[in-house]
Amino acid sequence: MDKDIFLKFLSAFELSYSKISKILDVLKGNFSFDSFSLSDEVEKILGDDFSSIIKKANPDFLQRYLNRLDEKGIKILTCEDSNYPKKLFRCDDPPYYLFYKGDINILNNVSVSIVGTRSPSNYGVVITERFAGELAQAGAVIISGLAYGVDSIAHRKTLLEKGKTVAILAGGFDHIYPTEHFSLFNEISQKGLVLSEHRPDIKALKFNFPQRNRIVAALSDALLVTEAGAKSGTSITKDFALDYGIPIYAIPGNITSPKSDGTNRIIASMQGTCTLEPINIINDLGLKKKKNIAKQLSINESLIVQQLQDEPKNVDMLVEILNLPIANLNSLLTSLEIKGIIKRMPGGFFALG
């Protein structure tokens, strides 16, 4: 049997990097089901799992397994493949296999991982969008974890800017978590890349998430934390990034806001760079900022934009400040929103987008 096929066979069992290396060593290039199942040394390596794996060591099972992956459009990459992202070898235990949908080659580009809280404040939403948008425009690949909040905002904004984005799943492809993001998942797998180190039927369980975070960190050239609480998955990703020597950028928040606690602490402990403008990251990564095409605004429109500069405001506040009739204001806000200059936030607030 081809080594390539044999490796694909092993991918069905969720074995660790070290176990697979040991098995390959033991077999010494003799890749067949017989030599695999009759070897005492393999039995020693696999321990209790051996008997269940042996049962499946036949061409039938392998064929069925590969067909299933094919049907789902899932491809496998092993760490021996040439286009396996070398960045992943920063990890102590790099994933031996990557299951993926989409274009694997975008991992060769300069990439930024954007992570943060799952329930961002309006401030968090705005800055995540601004940074993700400008970084994507500058050509950076945006990596994140498809979770609620900052993750999905970063993905969506990147797609909106027609940039490339990568989502790393915690479980397998059959169990997209959270289920609400299924359509987002589909869009990313068509326009970007979705990765998982697990075979499709593995569920996204609690302990899978920190493991996933190591990939989010390892794949990136820079880690950006936009808004994060004191104790969160973000801090795990940040610790991995520290380990791997990846530059960390954090955006400061209000020191009284619990949702900015994590980011403020990164800055205070000097683990990461305090970042105020996307241009800082863009320059550090050697990218070029795209010039904004100036958008034509009417006088009233620019008045509204001016008002939204410092903080998000709702319709009632704008009515009071600008003294415009509510009917006009509503239509102006919509036209600004359509132009992508402002963004509607939960609670009827508007912010610069």
């Binding site: 799952r118 329930s119 309006n122 609620y148 909040g149 969506r156 959270p178 609400e180 619990p258 709702n314 319709v315 009632d316 009515v319 009071e320 509510i326 009917a327 006009n328 509503n330 239509s331 102006l332 806000l333 919509t334 036209s335 929103e337 359509i338 132009k339 992508g340 509607r344 936030m345 939960p346 609670g347 009827g348 607030f349």
Partner: protein
């Protein structure tokens, strides 16, 4: 001897003729009522007997059989008491009352409940009965005095109000005269609108007020989303004050329903103000839709031509909410039960309010939301797509700050807003004068195509909005209808880009909310 008295029963909100046939024959003393009568009618035996005795008449000690024809339709309620008592007195061969003959009772429709001492008590559903009976050609009515106000709004009939059985008998025997009720002219005076609920008392909330103004003008349904204490209920309660006055036909329709449900104020006799119904969220599905054992109109029918306000919408059971889908579309509800099928009108404006998340603070200016994204998602998804589909306007309401609350500002009063609403309604009445529709919100698909023509600019705007804001397809027609109403409010014949843009602003829940 046999007697026949005409009375009327109710099925849904329509009356039907019931002939009360009474036969008195020899045999053991017995009183039997046949003709699918319910318990309330069966118990009439006792009331009728006591009332006859206590009015000073003799109760025949014979075999009495009362048949309520048509005998195959279920009848309920106490409306036949008086007719039965008169029937017995007429049929009794030994009756000592001179002048009380079958000829005298002919041509009268007799309605009323009896109490034991012979008094005539008010009944439910007088108005629908009179309307149906007039259509059938009945012109003379004897009915309880307490119901006379309600009866006085029908033209072209003679209504004789009575207080007691004795009075009725004397009248029928020709011994006394009762003046028929004088027909009242319905006039809708604006005095009632000066009640405490007026938009001038609502500080700030310009966005929500504008949304409600559009809703009133075009009959659109509204969903208000906002944290607790942001004044959603207050805004909703002020809403009726800017609705156009009811026409007489509308008032009659509403009164019919309220009369059947027994919710009518006897002193006034007609519902003058548009109803504002606020069923609690524990309301059962049947109490909303109507039906049940006694086939009563539900809350949505009681809100006919008015407002149904659902506070804290996600707290209503899914089952109850889904029940609203068909009435919201058709403007009526058909309740089918094994015994009978009834159609009640239910053409109401739905005003709903909800918090944006379980704790209520999601998106609020100065309070922290403690809900997880999946909690928020679950909460919002309690309002199903099809229901959301039928709500044209979503508006977000935020807390008013203390300074705003105390500020001395000149808020627009309801009368001014109502003026604009009335003007917009006039344009719509003119537009739909040859159809049975009267508001933009109820436009059919061909009507929408016909009346919501978009210029090139508007098309362009709508297209970019759909692309950039990720609106769902169901938003499309809603936006057109609301844009039409906004144009009407401004007196514009054509829909302009700014109207479309404003209409798009009211589709916030169609976007990705979290």
């Amino acid at each position: 001897m046999l007697s026949k008295i005409i009375s009327y029963g109710l099925q849904g909100i329509d009356g039907f003729v019931v002939e009360v046939e009474t036969d008195i024959s020899g045999g053991l003393p017995h009183f039997e009522i046949v003709g699918l009568a319910d318990t309330a009618i069966k118990e009439a035996k006792e009331r009728v007997r006591s009332a006859i005795k206590n009015s000073g008449f003799e109760y025949p000690v014979k075999r009495i059989t009362v048949n309520l024809a048509p005998a195959d339709v279920k009848k309920e309620g106490t409306v036949y008491d008086l007719a039965m008592a008169i029937g017995i007195l007429v049929a009794d061969p030994k009756s000592e009352i001179k002048g009380l003959s079958p000829d005298r009772t002919k041509g009268f429709v007799i309605l009323g409940e009896l109490s034991l001492n012979g008094e005539v008590k008010p009944i439910k559903g007088i108005l629908p009965i009179l309307i149906s009976a007039r259509k059938e050609g009945y012109l003379n009515f004897i009915l309880p005095q307490a119901n006379q106000n309600e009866a006085s709004f029908i033209e072209g009939i003679n209504v004789y109000p009575v207080k007691s059985l004795l009075e009725t008998v004397n009248f029928l025997a020709g011994e006394s005269i009762i003046e028929p009720v004088i027909t009242k002219i319905f006039k809708n005076d604006c005095v009632k609108n000066s009640s405490a609920l007026d938009f001038k008392f609502v500080k700030g909330q310009a966005g929500a007020k504008r949304a409600l103004e559009i809703a009133a003008a075009g009959g659109h349904n509204v969903l208000m989303i906002g944290p607790p204490g942001s004044g959603k209920s207050m805004l909703a309660k002020c809403f009726p004050s800017i609705l156009p006055d009811m026409t007489f036909e509308e008032a009659l329709e509403v009164t019919k329903i309220h009369s059947v449900a027994g919710e009518l104020d006897f002193k006034v006799g007609i519902v003058e103000e548009r109803p504002f119904r606020t069923p609690h969220h524990s309301a059962s599905a049947v109490s909303l839709t109507g039906g049940g054992v006694h086939s009563k109109p539900g809350e949505i029918s009681l809100a006919h031509n008015g407002v149904l306000y659902l506070d804290e919408m996600p707290e209503y059971s899914r089952h109850s909410l889904e029940m609203l889908r068909q009435p919201l579309e058709d403007g009526c509800i058909t309740v089918a039960r094994s015994a009978l099928t009834v159609t009640y009108p239910a053409n109401f404006t739905l005003i709903a309010s909800m918090n944006p998340c379980p704790c209520g603070n999601y998106g609020a200016k100065d309070r922290e939301c403690k809900c997880s994204p999946s909690q928020i998602h679950k909460y919002l998804s309690k309002i199903s797509g099809p229901i959301l589909d039928r709500i044209d306007i979503h508006v977000e309401v935020d807390n008013v700050s203390f300074t705003d609350l105390r500020a001395v500002t000149n808020e627009e009063d309801s009368a001014t807003i109502k003026q604009r609403v009335d003007n917009a309604r006039k344009i719509q009445l003119e537009r739909f004068k040859n159809s049975n529709n009267y508001s933009n919100s109820k436009m059919s698909v061909p009507d929408t195509k016909k009346y919501c023509h978009l210029s090139k600019d508007c098309e362009e705007l709508l297209k970019t909005a759909f692309d950039n804001l990720k609106l769902s397809a169901r938003a499309h027609d809603r936006i057109l209808k609301v844009a039409r109403t906004i144009a009407d409010l401004e007196g514009e014949e054509n829909i302009l880009p700014q109207h479309v843009a404003e209409a798009i602003a009211y589709r916030s829940l169609d976007r990705k909310y979290i």
